[in-house]
Amino acid sequence: MNEAHIASAFDRDLEALQATLMKMGGMVETAILESARSLEDRDIELAEQVRKADKAIDALEEQVNEEAARVIALRAPTAGDLRTVLTVIKISANLERCGDYAKNLAKRTLILAETPDVDGTSASVRRMSREVQLMLNDALDAYIQRDEKLAQQVILRDEDVDQMYTALFRELLTHMMEDPRNITACMHLHFIGKNIERMGDHVTSIAEQVVYLVTGSMPDDTRPKQDRTAYVAEGL
């Protein structure tokens, strides 16, 4: 549905709404990357910056919701237009959560900066967050391009993030068993890893919204679950 509306102001409203969402998405991508980098580089200044920037993300979510409510009230959107507005609302909520997780990572960085890195685990965290950021970038591209195929690929890639999280979990467990002095840092790192894994779920949900936007129905939930940590026993 690429044709223009007869009422061009309707097109402008929908474009503005999606532009605000994309701006929000860009800010969240930055927050994900920079929070992980601040951890790896022990860069407190950068962490503080990420923490503060989350306010702007929250404000954008509010703006998206207000604009969406206005479009619903004034334009009574139907069919593809309706799905555009509905998905914008949902995706903005997903982005806002991702922003919160990035902020949380930055907060933990402020604590972890006091301690030395536990044997390269910060690098694992950065690789994991890099993967989530790339997924988010593709999910947002898929949204703008109305590219169902790309969205489906993003959904499948969540598996990789889950596997990275499971690997990190095992790594942290090993370090804690080796030396109890690692426990504080490892607990923080574990929450960080879990939060990034949750970001992956939110990005997956964004990709699912893209499928709904394009096709009118949600994708079948057939993707394999790779978070195996519930089955990881002591002494692995």
Binding site: M1, A4, I6, A7, A79, G80, D81, R83
Partner: protein, 253 residues
């Protein structure tokens, strides 16, 4: 799923050389409001008028195909169009009360069809129809006054009351609210929903929101074709045909 009230198959309509309806097949359900939508000139009113043979009154109109009401062909030679129209009533775009009293506007149909044996029965029919037309309270004290003296919204409800006085099985409405203000529109829409308990209602409307509000089934016509016909909720959230989507979302299609 309700019973099929009207079953049309392979209907074509020509006005002289103009092919106004092209091979349309549709099944109208009982106790259901069905909305016909589409741009001007798409054939929705023409098709509506086939359902009670209003096109018979147009010399150059030619209707082919079959339209069954409860399984009986309404275009069969032995069907009396006047009797048919008592069963398939119609309400038009502009309120058109007879230049008679409010009472006689309603009593006219039942009188010519012999539905009342005496004055008491006729009074009863008039009151019942006006009540069902949601206008009784407003006119009960001035039944002898001319129907043309009522406000536009009241006149339209009077016309609906008149249409249901003959106990039709199907009520056809051609843009019934286009001349009404939002309050009167809401009253007529509420009335349409009540009428659904007893009748099949088929409504032609240019207001997409009205179609969405009042109907359970929606048919989209375009250039004489029935493009899409389905459950209203589905048509307005996820239409199958790109022409339907273009039309309902206000795009040039």
């Amino acid at each position: 799923m309700n019973d099929i009230k009207i079953s049309a198959s392979g209907v074509d309509v020509f006005y002289g050389d103009t092919h106004a309806i092209k091979n349309v097949s549709v099944e109208i359900e009982g106790n259901t409001v069905t909305a016909f939508i589409g741009p001007s000139g798409c054939g929705k009113s023409t098709f509506l008028r086939c359902l009670n043979r209003m096109n018979d009154t147009i010399d150059i109109a030619r209707v082919t195909g079959s339209i069954l009401l409860d399984g009986e062909d309404i275009y069969d030679a032995k069907v009396d169009p006047v009797q048919l129209r008592a069963k398939v009533g119609m309400v038009f775009q502009k309120p058109n009360p007879f230049p008679k009293s409010i009472y006689d506007n309603i009593a006219y149909g039942p009188r010519i069809h012999g539905l009342a044996r005496n004055k008491a029965e006729l009074d009863e029919i008039v009151e019942k129809s006006l009540r069902r037309g949601a206008i009784w309270e407003e006119v009960k004290d001035r039944l002898d006054q001319p129907g043309t003296g009522l406000s536009g919204g009241q006149q339209q409800r009077l016309c609906i009351a008149r249409a249901i006085a003959t106990e039709p099985e199907v009520l056809l409405m051609d843009e019934p609210c286009s001349a009404l203000d939002p309050i009167a529109t809401a009253q007529v829409e509420e009335l349409i929903d009540e009428l659904r308990q007893q009748y099949s209602v088929v409504i032609v409307t240019h207001s997409m929101q009205q179609a969405a509000r009042v109907s359970q089934k929606t048919a989209f016509f375009h250039l004489g074709d029935l493009v899409e016909y389905g459950e209203t909720g589905h048509i307005f959230t996820n239409p199958e045909d790109s022409r339907t989507e273009s039309y309902i979302t206000g795009r040039i299609g």
